[in-house]
Amino acid sequence: MAFIILLLLILLVGVAAGLLGSLSGLGGGVVIVPLLVVAFQIPLVDAIGASAVSVLATSTATGAAYVRDRLTDIRIGMFLEIATVPGALFGVTATLLLAKSGLGSALLVALGAVLLFTVPSSLSRAAKPAGERRVDRRSRALKLKGSYYDPHLGREVSYEAERTTPALATMFAAGTVSGMFGIGGGVLKVLALERFLGLHAKVATATSNFMIGVTVAASSGVLLLAGDVNPVIAGPVALGTAVGAMVGSRLLPGMSSARVASIFLVLVAVLGVELVLRGLGIG
């Protein structure tokens, strides 16, 4: 197949991943690595490098709008980055050590397991049940609180972060997964922001996106200087994903996102099974 056609196909994969990821709320990163490995036979670490760069591009493109609209809680985001960045550095180190030790198949199985975990986690994303609020001392000391204007409610909504210790632990885990597989880890981040910190969905999504940029910058930077980011592959994926995500965010208000999410989750599950089988030498 002509070289330019292959690059255009990679670009289209990026557009589709960005679009579906944006419409489903999962982000396109979760399907880029498996698609590059399965459909284009690209080695796992190169695929992870390309995916990390594409997640970085998407987070930067959409993050600018969220920050401008003041939906992002910058204080909470920067506070939690103290856990996501070490997590990402730990994760990318683990991946490079495993890959350079010839244990790439273990990475495939682990990524497949992460994809399969994503499906039930996404389905169970629901409003936190009303209960006793537990704003801790750290949250008060760091003034982890804020407000945003909700156009549907027609008023300003205030919030204050609650259980920061389990949130920090979850963010370290999210950073590790993100660093290991070049994905955003938004599912874990949003879960922690909503369930532990008690943030509203809109603020949680915007703040998660804000943190993803810094988290993935850590792993992308390491992979780039390690020589594992190939821009001729990463470039089309990044441009495609960013365009797809921006189109998706414009289409979102008029679409049935639940239906798109269901289709995307089936794709994620199929790719997860495929990766596990490949890693085990069955596929």
């Binding site: 002509a2 070289f3 292959l6 690059l7 284009f40 036979q41 690209i42 080695p43 190169d46 970085l56 591009a57 930067t60 993050g63 600018a64 709008a65 920050v67 401008r68 003041r70 992002t72 910058i74 204080r75 920067m78 506070f79 980055e81 103290i82 960045v85 550095l89 990318v92 490079l96 350079k100 000391a141 760091l142 982890l144 609180k145 804020g146 407000s147 205030s158 940029g213 810094v214 993935v216 910058a217 850590a218 992308s220 930077g221 390491v222 780039l224 200087l225 390690a226 020589g227 594992d228 980011v229 190939n230 821009p231 001729v232 592959i233 990463a234 470039g235 990044a238 441009l239 960013a242």
Partner: protein, 134 residues
């Protein structure tokens, strides 16, 4: 911070605008460099093959300051692509530095320390771990 008890502790509106501008500028600059570099690369290598490209990363010679500078001066597409990814990676770091500036300006010591720690972790992690695995 100047918030009264019970009032949301937000950064000044200017900080949001500046951070948004940093992210937008980084994204636009990086995308422009990526498009220019990719177009030139494909025109120069119309019959390149993907497996060969994967085996030998075309930017391998541009991952050091001297090589990158030489490549940029010679307008090599590989150097432009390397610069595009570097700009993209540097954008969130610039955003953290912008946050640090506003926290220091607002005398918010705790968040200033946190953002400085994040920045040091990022820079040290990238420049220590990256070359270590090269």
């Amino acid at each position: 911070m100047t918030d009264a008890e019970g009032q949301p502790a937000m950064l000044p509106a200017n900080a949001y605008r500046r951070m948004s501008a940093v992210l937008r500028t980084g994204m636009v600059g990086s995308a422009a460099l990526l498009i220019a570099g990719l177009t030139d690369f494909v025109l120069r290598h119309p019959y390149g093959d993907l497996p060969g490209l994967v085996r030998s990363n075309p930017i391998a010679g541009y991952l050091n300051p001297a090589g990158l500078l030489r490549g940029i001066v010679q307008l090599r597409s590989e150097a432009v692509l390397t610069l595009a990814i570097l700009v993209l990676v540097a954008t969130p770091l610039a955003r953290v530095a912008t946050g640090f500036y506003y926290f220091v300006r607002d005398a918010d010591r705790a968040l200033a320390k946190i953002s400085l720690t994040v920045l040091v972790l990022l820079v040290a992690g990238i420049f220590v771990l990256g070359p270590l695995f090269h």
